[in-house]
Subunit: 336 residues, 2 copies
C-alpha cells in the first residue's frame, strides 16, 4: 500500500526491493576513485559503435543486461522499464532498449532521471501494476558535448563552474522481495526557477530545487539529516553542493555532516580536470547503482536519502535567454 | 486496486475518473471539423509570446488551467502532473508548468504522451500515491517544423505521406470520484522497429507498434473490436491507419468498423492541405480532451479504446541513418 505522508511525500508499506542493479562507466570514470565499484568499464568512447549516440545506447543496454542478470531474472519477467537520458528525444533509451522487448515508459527528468525512474518503478511494484519493474538512465560525455556545447574538435575552454558529463549508465530491478536495499519513501519535486541563466553553472541552477525537495521531505516526515547515514545528491558538483548547504542552513537544516554528491564522488577533482565535478543522468545513475548500493548491501549504509537533480532547460531556451528551471526528486532507501 | 490482466494489461478496480479536461487548439485546427469542440482557440502562432517555443508552453498552461477549473479544483489539490512534449528536453512542459507549483514528473513518449500520461495519472490515483493527478501534452506546428524539418521561411514541399503537426494541447485531471469517463484498463507498449527510415512517413513507422499493443490488449482481455464503441488511434494519419487495419487483418482482427484516428478527425483533408493528416503530441491530446471526452460525457460514447502512438527517433538518429523505433500505449476509458 502507498500512503501519502504530509503534502509531498509518499510511503511504501511493502517497500519494493532493489533486487538487482548495475553501474557502467567510461574511461575518465575508470581513472576516478570509484573505478573498482562499477560492474563494467568501457574504455572506447564509441564502445564499438558508429556514433557517440549509439555508444550511449549501448551503455544503457549493458547496464540493463547486467542488472537483470544480477537480479537472477529475465527480461520477460520485467513488466515495465522506465528510462530516459539527455539526448534529444531520449534516443539513448529508445535505441538502447529496443531489443529487450520490455513495455517501455520514457521519462524525462534530465539529471534527476535515476531518482524519477526509481520512484516510478516503486509505485508500479507497490501498487501491483507490476510484479517487477526496472529503471535505467545514461549520459555520455561526447554525445552531450556536441548536443549541448561545442564540437569536441573545437577544444573549447570551460568555465570553473562547468561540470563534466559522466560517461556512464545505471539500472535497477525492483520487486517485492522484502530483502536488501528497499524503497521506503519518495518525494517528487516541483519545478523551481530562481532565475539562473548560466548554462555553465547548472549546480547553481539546481540547488534551489534540491533545497525545496529536501525541506519538503523533512517537514513531511518529521525527520532530520542526522536520522540518515547519507544525504546524497545527484550532480550538484562543488558549486551547487555549497549552495544547497547554504540554502538549507538559512532554514536551520544542517546537512553538512551527512551530505555527499555523486558528481564529487565519481572524480578526483585534485587530479582530474573536471572543474566543478561530474554531471549528467549517468552520474547519479552509475554512482547510485554501484558504490552506494554496494555499501547498502554490505551494511555499511543502512538508511539513506538519494536525491537526483535536473536542469530542465534546452540549448534552444538558453539561446532565447530563458532562465533554467530545475527539479529534484528524492528517494529514501532503507536496508532490510 | 490494480490487477494484472494477462501479460501486458492492468485493470483499475476503482477506475479513476477524468473529472476535468480541456483541449486547446490553433488557427488551422479552428478551420477543421472539430473547431466547436475545443475549449479555447488561439489564432496567433505566438500567442502573444516572443518565440514559438514559449507559445507552445503557453498552450500547455492554458490547457492545464482550464482542466483544473473545469474539475472544480485548484492546483494545490493536484498531487502530481505528468507532462511531456516533442521539443528537445521537453521545454514545452517545463516552462509551461513552472507557475503551477505542482510536483512534476516529465514523460517522453513522443506522440504517445497523452495515453502515457493518462496511464501514469491512473496508476498514481488508483494506488493512493495521489488523491488527484493530472496530465498534459502539446505540440506546435512552428516549433516542430523548425526543430524536426526546415525553417518555415524555406517553404519546403512536403511528401504525400507527411503529416501536419497540430498546434494544440490537451489536459486531464483524474481523481477517484466514481463518475463520468473513467480509466478501466491500460496496456503499455513495447518499442517496435520494423525498419522504416522515412521520417516523412511516421504513420508507417508507428503502425506496427499500434498493431502490437492492440493485439496484446485483445489477447489479455479476451475482448474484440465490436465490444467497444470506438478504437481511436492518436496520429497514424491516412497511411498509418490503413497499415494498422491491414496488419491487424493478417491476425484476423477487424477494427475497420470501429476505428478512427485523431489525425484524420482534426482536419478536413479534402479542404485542408495537411497531406496524410494531423500529428504531434497535441493531436491526440487536443482531440481526446475535447471531442472524445465530450462525447463520453454526453453518453454518445460509452466504452472506448484510446491508443496514442509515438515515433521515438530524433533528427540526429535519422541523420545517422537509423530506422524509427515506435511505441503505442492504450487506455480503455468507460463511462460510469
Amino acid at each position: 500500500m502507498i500512503r501519502r505522508i504530509g503534502a509531498h511525500t509518499v510511503g511504501f508499506e511493502e517497500m519494493p526491493s532493489i533486487i538487482g542493479y548495475a553501474g557502467v562507466a567510461g574511461k575518465i570514470e575508470s581513472q576516478g576513485p570509484l573505478a573498482d565499484c562499477f560492474d563494467k568499464l568501457i574504455f572506447d568512447s564509441y564502445n564499438g559503435k558508429d556514433t557517440y549516440e549509439q555508444a550511449e545506447s549501448s551503455l544503457q543496454a549493458e547496464a540493463v543486461s547486467l542488472a537483470i542478470s544480477k537480479a537472477k531474472t529475465t527480461a520477460d519477467e520485467i513488466n515495465y522499464i522506465f528510462a530516459g537520458d539527455l539526448l534529444n528525444q531520449c534516443i539513448g533509451s529508445s535505441y538502447g532498449l529496443l531489443d529487450f522487448n520490455i513495455p517501455y515508459l520514457g521519462q524525462y527528468g534530465a539529471c534527476s532521471t535515476m531518482a524519477q525512474g526509481l520512484i516510478m518503478a516503486s509505485v508500479f511494484v507497490e501498487s501491483g501494476a507490476a510484479n517487477a519493474a526496472m529503471c535505467v538512465t545514461s549520459s555520455h560525455f561526447c554525445s552531450a558535448e556536441r548536443q549541448y556545447r561545442f564540437p569536441l574538435e573545437y577544444g573549447g575552454v570551460r568555465t570553473p563552474t562547468a561540470q563534466w558529463t559522466v560517461t556512464g549508465a545505471g539500472s535497477c530491478v525492483l520487486r517485492n522481495d522484502k530483502k536488501g536495499p528497499s524503497v521506503a519513501k519518495a518525494t517528487v519535486g516541483k519545478i523551481v526557477d530562481l532565475g539562473v541563466k548560466d548554462a555553465n553553472n547548472m549546480g547553481a541552477a539546481m540547488a534551489p530545487a534540491a533545497a525545496d525537495t529536501l525541506k519538503n521531505f523533512f517537514d513531511d516526515t518529521g525527520t532530520k539529516p542526522s536520522d540518515y547515514d547519507l544525504v546524497l545528491t545527484g550532480d550538484l558538483g562543488e558549486v551547487g553542493s555549497r549552495l544547497l548547504c547554504q540554502l538549507l542552513n538559512q532554514q536551520s537544516i544542517d546537512i553538512t555532516q551527512k551530505h555527499n554528491d555523486c558528481g564529487l564522488m565519481i572524480f578526483d577533482r585534485n587530479k582530474q580536470d573536471v572543474h566543478a565535478g561530474g554531471s549528467g543522468c549517468g552520474c547519479a545513475g552509475s554512482v547510485f547503482c554501484s558504490k552506494i548500493l554496494n555499501d547498502m548491501q554490505s551494511g555499511k549504509l543502512k538508511n539513506i536519502l538519494f536525491m537526483a537533480t535536473g536542469a530542465l532547460m534546452s540549448p534552444t531556451s538558453s539561446g532565447q535567454g530563458a532562465s533554467i528551471p530545475s527539479i529534484a526528486h528524492l528517494v529514501n532507501v532503507k536496508n532490510r
